[in-house]
Point group: C2
Chain length 94, copies 2
Amino acid sequence: MNGLKILRDEIDKLDQDMVEIFEKRIEKVLKIAEYKAENNEPILNENREKEVILKNISRLKNKEYSNYVEELFNTILSISKKIQDKQLNTDTDS
Amino acid sequence: MNGLKILRDEIDKLDQDMVEIFEKRIEKVLKIAEYKAENNEPILNENREKEVILKNISRLKNKEYSNYVEELFNTILSISKKIQDKQLNTDTDS
């Protein structure tokens, strides 16, 4: 098997773990949306978002990747807001 | 501890795992960039990108999250191309 195939198989395994974690994260976000609805808390919490990004940058071994982690978590946070919006609108529709 | 704090702590743990996996993925991408440089292979491989997205959507338990996984991996693939570009330009500069 050539080097590229081996590396891609290793990436596929990492991606599989990432999807599993991401799916769990979505389910936690749905629970947070429920909690916020029950407690009249706003979806958007910019302080929490900044905290999530800084905390995850700090977890990097190689700080050269900081911009990449920031970009990744900006996407994750944006997806989380979509999920919470969708959940709240579904609740108010039903 | 209130419900929101508990859920956020659980998300923080998931994020920690995600950063660890993402960092490992970046290192694999750097090795792929080296391999491609040595073997004159192009960075962009649209078939591989489509395969990565479809493969990861197929791993979801809940297919309602397909758009979110697609968005996540579009970001990851975009970051991977930036990493490979940077590596190749650094090689050619040195």
